[in-house]
Each structure stands twice: as structure tokens, then as C-alpha cells.
């Protein structure tokens, strides 16, 4: 079957599978090697980079199979969902700047320390943007095409 004939959702399912595989690979590696050598770290980095390249290819295939209204839904969601989701993040940022002594809970599973707090911030940003994007996409797609 030619790539162009494959339904868009199948590319997304493949991407989801790849993401789960990527997460499992990194998780197993992290659990097995508490004190990893530089060589194994480089190898792991190459594997992750390769899997990410496959992920970008899957997204490109998904995008090519979308019609223009479906693409418009993603563009709209990116602009409105992303920008509106930034608002609570900015409020939170200013709040933290005003209260530097505040005890902030860590993301589950992370260890206290600079890396843990940076990762916690990263998780919060990614998930907030993802929620905003998803809600905006659902609103556009369900309202426009119902």
C-alpha cells in the first residue's frame, strides 16, 4: 500500500506506538544504568535521535494525508490553544518570581535538585500547551464539522 493511501489516523497510531517505545527504551535504560558510561550515553543519544527522526517522518506523512480543513484545525489549535495556554504559565511564572522562597512540589518520580526542578518546569509547560492545543483542536473540529 502506497504511503499516500494510508489513512491519517494510522500515522498517528504509529507515532503513538513509537512514542511509547521511545519512552520505554529510555526508561529501561535509565533503570538499568545508574552510572552510565560516556559511550553508552552517546549510543543511547543516537538511538533516541534516530527514533525521533522516524517520529518526524510519521508526522510528515500524517500531515500530507490531511485535507485542508483538517490542517486548518491544527493551525487554529496551534495559535489559539498554544497562546491561551501560555497565559496561566505566564501568571505562574510571575507568581514564582514574586515568591522565590515558595516550596514547589516536584513532578512525580523526579528527584529534588536543579535538574529535577528544570524537568518539572518542562513537564508543566509541555502538558499545559498540550491541553490547550487539544481543547482548541476539539472545539474547532467538533464545531466546524459536526
Amino acid at each position: 500500500m502506497a504511503a499516500k493511501q494510508i489513512a491519517p489516523w494510522r500515522w498517528l497510531v504509529a507515532l503513538l506506538g513509537l512514542s511509547l517505545g521511545l519512552g520505554a527504551t529510555v526508561g529501561i535504560y535509565a533503570a538499568m544504568s545508574r552510572e552510565a558510561s560516556v559511550g553508552s550515553l552517546i549510543l543511547m543519544g543516537l538511538v533516541v535521535a534516530g527514533l525521533m527522526a522516524v517520529g518526524v517522518w510519521l508526522v510528515a506523512m500524517y500531515w500530507r494525508r490531511l485535507d485542508e480543513a483538517a490542517r486548518e484545525a491544527h493551525k487554529w489549535a496551534w495559535f489559539w490553544g498554544g497562546n491561551v495556554a501560555l497565559l496561566p504559565l505566564i501568571v505562574g511564572l510571575f507568581f514564582l518570581l514574586e515568591r522565590p522562597d515558595l516550596q514547589v512540589p516536584l513532578w512525580p518520580g523526579l528527584h529534588a535538585g536543579p535538574a529535577g526542578y528544570v524537568a518539572t518546569g518542562g513537564f508543566i509547560v509541555v502538558f499545559t500547551l498540550l491541553i490547550g492545543y487539544s481543547l482548541a483542536w476539539l472545539y474547532w473540529w467538533l464545531w466546524k464539522s459536526r
Binding site: D67, E68, A69, A70, W141, W143, K144, S145, R146
Partner: protein, 66 residues
């Protein structure tokens, strides 16, 4: 922008799925077009006109036109 897609489709006894296949878009997109919630790009508008063998202006009506 208003359009006569639903009427034209009904005249030919086509389902939304039939029209979607003819246009190479999803059925949801055809629905969005018919309800006027989404305006097509110029290439898609031309494709719609070719599918119905009609000029674009007899399918789409600019509500702002005097």
C-alpha cells in the same frame, strides 16, 4: 460565505461521503463546507466547481458583495 453545495449534492443524489471521495477530502470537511463553517481554499473551490461542472460564482456567494 454562503454556498449551494448541499442543494447541488442533493440534486445529484450524492451523499456527503460520495462528494468527499470526489473532492479528495474527508466527509467532515464536506459537512463543514456545507454548513458554511469553513470556506474552501481557491484550489478546492475550483475543484468543487469542476466536480459540479458549474462556475464558482454559481456555487459560492460573497455575502459582502453589493
Amino acid at each position: 460565505m454562503k454556498n449551494r453545495l448541499k442543494v447541488l449534492r442533493a440534486e445529484r443524489d450524492w451523499s456527503q461521503a460520495d462528494l468527499a471521495v470526489a473532492l479528495g477530502v474527508s466527509r467532515q470537511t464536506v459537512n463543514a463546507l456545507e454548513t458554511g463553517r469553513y470556506d474552501p481554499s481557491l484550489p478546492l473551490a475550483f475543484k468543487i466547481a469542476r466536480t459540479f461542472d458549474l462556475p464558482i460564482e454559481s456555487i459560492f456567494h460573497d455575502e459582502e458583495a453589493v
